[in-house]
């Protein structure tokens, strides 16, 4: 659909704002509806739109399968790492209190980092799913 003029121009206009909106949902998880999972899905939606309009090959160039796969693991590592950090600092697994001097701040930062991990993993998994499902029925060439 790359040749589709209107779709191409409008998508180019929209994609940055979709991504920014996803990050807004990510960062404001404590204040309103939102959080890591929703943010990840919206962020991936920007890539899905990009892939639909500009083609799967271009999407693979922008978000290589290896990098996206690594991001799935990175998000999980951030999540688990926060838990272990709490453990090392004298709490239990996934206890946020000890992460900062003030337990309230600790909770705040802990949740934010955990949500970031969730967001990265969800976005990366969604992009991976799109790439592998969209690849079905691909002409066997290139």
């Amino acid at each position: 659909m790359k040749e589709h003029l209107i779709l191409r121009v409008i998508s180019k206009e929209l994609i940055p704002f979709v991504m920014l909106f996803a990050l807004y949902v990510q960062m404001h998880g404590d204040y309103g509806p939102g959080g890591g999972f929703q943010a990840g899905v919206v962020f991936a939606a920007a890539f899905v739109l990009y892939g639909l309009v500009f083609g799967l090959k271009t999407l693979r160039k922008v978000a290589p399968v290896a990098v996206v796969g690594a991001l799935v693991a990175l998000g999980l590592l951030i999540y688990a790492g926060t838990g272990v950090a709490g453990l090392l600092l004298g709490g239990t697994y996934l206890e946020y209190g000890p992460l900062a001097h003030d337990p309230v701040h600790g909770h705040h930062y802990g949740i934010m980092v955990i949500e970031l991990g969730v967001g990265i993993t969800v976005a990366a998994v969604m992009i991976t799913i799109f790439q592998s499902f969209a690849g079905r029925g691909e002409p066997e060439q290139d």
Partner: protein
């Protein structure tokens, strides 16, 4: 409860019902996608109005997300009925 929001919500719901009936009747696949698109944009409005009706304008974030997903969904559905799959096509000559 403010009556104007109730009236608007009912009007939107009625239109959504009409859109669903069009989606069921068809007859072509494009009619159905058009009806689904209309249904989607009306859902966005409904979320916004219901947010005000219940005094929780936080819902506006959800309305934005829904508008976005609706657009991407229509484009995806179009691409799918056109090519039968999402992969790159050898002859993408659809200007």
């Amino acid at each position: 409860m403010s009556p104007q929001f109730v009236i608007v919500a009912i009007a939107i719901l009625a239109t959504m019902g009409l859109a669903v009936s069009r989606a069921v009747v068809g007859p072509t696949v494009f009619d159905r996608i058009l009806a689904a698109n209309t249904f989607g944009t009306k859902t966005v409005l409904l979320i916004a109005v219901v947010g005000y009706l219940t005094g929780r304008p936080d819902f506006l974030d959800l309305a934005l997300v829904y508008a976005l997903i609706n657009f991407i969904g229509v484009i995806a559905a179009l691409k799918f009925i056109k090519f039968g799959h999402f992969a790159d096509h050898r002859s993408e000559s659809n200007r």
